[in-house]
């Protein structure tokens, strides 16, 4: 529905918004939160440009670099401030402690890199798994605490809400792949791993090529959370199936807050449909609670994309509650498991222990470490004269290779830069995901 979308863009311009976030004109000096002045001018109200304009691949209009004044909020001679939001309370939270321990490791260890003489300060806010809170906290970090850029840790709706706010203020925003809806045409938005939609085709390649799954390709089901934000992922998975002449034996949604009956009913239905491969796209909590309802000898293969399902914390709980039904689940992931991190980056464990007084490194730390490394490269790539405009302009023509995350390659038209994934396999005996394959762009 581009119509609605344009209409909104018009409204926002009419509402003396000169930032022109949607039509791609260069942010001008009335841009919000220009740090230096605390300008309460007209442009300070970010207007949402949301809406649901699905467009495959993303088509971000090019923003010419170095035109007009530069927004250097959060940048000083020797530091850059960045802000991360993620849920550590609310319906589907990350482990707060793990997040707290991991988020500054990369920037604080003795080998910590300087970026053109600057160090990096990390702010963190809990978005409570609520888009309203996410938006408020992102504003807090950007406007009050002067974060140069914002990063979403997880949670599709929150990422969408914050990214849209960031777009209205010309603030660069980085996030893992999640949805494409409502974000893929934001000029400031950069996905650093493959989106769920992009992974649809890859999942089907896996199903049709993998020796363990091949024979079950006619018994594939998909379960997703009921939100328009997963429509793109769903459609992509379905069309990848159709391309291969396959269809799904069951295609179900779970409400955002399922009842006991929802899990119980769905588990029975999966069994009844004899689904042997289930693509699951939900919050990890729902995944765990669904598998917990499996009984008897029904043990399908669980597969999926994304980040959160691949965390060990999910497995730790799910292996017990599902009575082992989670074993052997296969998930794509932007980060390698703990078993392989040393081979891609020997510094991680060392740095983690050093910064956290000997605490045992975990996989959430790897995510944050990989993110930081990628960001480091982006800053480096932007050069010593760091401004938001510069950063966006340079990043959208750059390629990055952190060795932890699969490489990203952006173009001015496409900010969804992920190209590859790692493949993790659940191992309940070890209580950990094991890395099966790294840096794969196809099966």
């Amino acid at each position: 529905k581009p119509g609605v979308h344009e209409q909104l863009a018009d409204t926002s311009t009419a509402g003396n918004q000169t930032t022109g976030t949607v039509d791609g004109t260069t942010p001008t000096d009335t841009g919000p939160a220009t740090g230096a002045t605390g300008d309460t001018g007209a442009g300070t109200t970010p207007t949402d440009t949301g809406g649901s304009a699905p467009s495959a691949g993303g088509n971000v209009p090019a923003a010419p670099a170095d035109a007009g004044p530069q927004d250097r909020t959060g940048v000083t001679g020797n530091s850059i401030t960045i802000g991360i939001h993620a849920p550590v309370t609310g319906a589907a939270p990350f482990p707060a402690q793990a997040f707290a321990l991991g988020r500054e490791v990369y920037w604080k260890w003795t080998g910590a890199p300087k970026i053109h003489g600057r160090s990096v300060k990390v702010l963190f806010e809990d978005d409570q798994y609520s888009p309203v809170t996410a938006r408020d906290r992102c504003r807090k970090m950007a406007e009050q605490q002067k974060a140069f850029l914002l990063i979403g840790g997880g949670g599709t709706d929150q990422i969408q809400a914050c990214a849209q706010y960031a777009a209205s203020g010309g603030i660069p925003y980085l996030s893992p792949g999640v949805t494409q809806i409502g974000v893929d045409n934001l000029p400031n938005y950069f996905a650093i791993s493959m989106t769920y939609a992009q992974q649809g085709e890859l999942l089907w390649q896996l199903i049709s090529k993998d020796a363990r799954l091949k024979g079950l390709a006619n018994k594939v089901a998909m379960v997703r959370t009921d939100t328009p934000n997963f429509d793109d992922a769903h459609d992509a998975f379905l069309s990848a199936a159709n391309k291969r002449g396959k269809s799904l034996v069951l295609d179900r949604t779970l409400p955002k807050n399922p009842s006991q009956t929802d899990y119980q009913t769905l588990a029975g239905q999966l069994d009844g449909a004899d689904a042997q491969i289930v693509h699951i796209l939900t919050a990890p909590t729902h995944y765990v609670l669904l598998t917990a309802r499996l009984a008897g000898d029904y043990r399908p293969w669980w597969i999926g994309g994304g980040i959160t399902h691949g965390l060990n914390a999910v497995l730790e709980t799910g292996c017990t509650t599902s009575n082992g039904a989670m074993d052997k689940a296969l998930f794509f992931s932007p980060f390698p498991g703990l078993d392989k991190i040393d081979s891609v980056d020997p510094n991680y464990r060392k740095a983690y222990r050093e910064v956290n007084g000997g605490a045992e490194p975990d996989d959430i730390g790897i995510v944050l470490w990989g993110l930081a490394k990628t960001l480091h490269q982006m800053f480096q790539n932007t050069g010593p004269s760091l401004s938001r405009q510069n950063f966006i302009a340079k990043t959208q023509t750059g390629s990055f290779q952190s060795k932890v995350f699969p490489p990203q390659k952006y173009s001015p038209q496409n900010h969804l830069g992920g190209t590859q994934v790692h493949l993790l396999k659940a191992n309940c005996a070890a209580g950990q995901y094991r890395t099966e394959k790294m840096f794969v762009s196809g099966f």
Partner: protein
């Protein structure tokens, strides 16, 4: 089933000393009032846009608080699904501006009316029964709204982001906060007139005793429904304003815990006192927003105290995120208020409010009369 509810002294008892006006007379009160009101107006103008947006959000909470007060304080019924009415209002506002492409001036009344309509439908069935059963019905209704109504794609876009751009004349956070304040003032006026006139009295009579009310010619059902609809109307209105405060309406925030927060803030505010409800609601709205700052400031102060350096470090280590503490603080305050200051914040504010109304500034008003439960309800008329 006779489940008695009584909340004593919901009417604003004006303890006017009609003799000589104590302590300054009306001029002093006028000046103080102007200073207070003017101060608020100026304050809104000078704070940062983020702060203005948060204060605007708090004004909206205050409207929700008044909506809860109509139900809880006047009718003696409790809604545990008020987030649904607010949410319906918010989505209605988003729907009107985005799908129907009408403007703010249409969206806000539509939001308020949708809240009233929802209340009418629900109350029509649930209010025939006495007691607190409405609480349980609204509880279930809240869950249904969350899982069904808010996910109707035709109406809400599936609950994941219906844009609600502000009107051009109130596009900034600051101007919009003024808009919210204006609405709050109107709502306070409505609430005041409501309790001072026929309908409000009838509602309170119905709360105390349905049979006494009926014997005075009051239609019990009609006034229960009227109060519930007024409450729904105000909640819907708040929802409409909220939509534009946030800019995008999503289903996620309108969950059961928000409903509980609405109850908490109203009770901590003090059901019987309009000023208390406003203060309590705003306090809860802002607590979550500013807790991080307050906590950081607190830790920094601890740092400055020599000798106990370790305490703040311990807290930094033990509490991964100050946000984790907010629910504990909120719930703790609630329990403390209920047990030690049953009149809530409103009770604490009574000396001031009483003075403004022309009474004395009397600190002993803080210790409210103890509420009594009255005898057992008669099972028969």
């Amino acid at each position: 089933m006779a489940i008695g509810l009584d909340v004593t002294h919901p009417m604003d008892v004006v303890e006017t000393d009609l003799g000589g006006m104590p302590q300054g007379g009306w001029p002093a009160r006028l000046i103080a009032g102007v200073l207070l009101g003017g101060g608020l107006l100026v304050l809104l103008g000078v704070v940062s846009p983020l702060d203005a947006s948060r204060i605007g959000y708090a004004f909206i909470f205050a409207i929700v608080g008044i909506s809860m007060r109509v139900l809880l304080g006047l009718l003696g019924q409790i809604s545990l699904g008020h987030q649904a009415f607010v949410g319906i209002g918010a989505f209605m506002a988003g729907f009107v501006v985005t799908e129907l492409e009408l403007d703010f001036a249409m969206a806000v009344p539509a939001a308020a009316l949708s809240g009233a309509a929802a209340a009418l439908i629900l109350g029509g069935a649930a209010l025939r029964i006495g007691g607190l059963l409405l609480a349980l019905v609204t509880l279930t209704f809240g869950a249904v709204a969350e899982r069904t109504i808010f996910l109707l794609r035709q109406f809400t876009g599936g609950g994941s982001g219906l844009p609600a751009p502000r009107p051009p004349w109130a596009a900034t956070d600051t101007t919009y906060a003024y808009v919210c304040l204006a609405f709050l003032v109107i709502v306070l006026f409505l609430d005041w007139r409501f309790v001072s006139t026929k309908a409000g009295r009838a509602v309170q009579a119905v709360r105390d005793s349905e049979r006494v009310a009926a014997s005075m010619g009051i239609s019990v059902i009609k006034y229960k429904l009227l109060a519930f609809m007024l409450s729904g109307f105000l909640a819907g209105l708040a929802g409409g304003l909220l939509a534009f405060n946030i800019g995008t309406v999503q289903a996620a925030p309108f969950n059961f815990f928000l409903a509980l927060e609405f109850v908490l803030m109203t009770v901590v505010g003090g059901l019987q006192y309009r000023s208390g409800v406003v203060a309590g609601s705003m306090f809860f709205a802002l607590l979550d927003r500013y807790f991080g700052n307050i906590y950081d400031w607190f830790l920094r102060q601890l740092d400055k105290v020599p000798g106990i350096r370790g305490v703040s470090d311990f807290l930094r280590d033990a509490i991964a995120d100050p946000g984790l503490l907010v629910p504990a603080v909120g719930a703790g305050l609630l329990i403390l208020t209920l047990i030690s200051f049953p009149g809530g914040i409103g009770q604490q504010l009574r000396p001031i409010v009483n003075w403004f109304r022309g009474g004395r500034f009397d600190l002993s008003l803080i210790h409210g009369e103890t509420t009594s439960q009255g005898g057992s309800e008669d099972v028969r008329p």
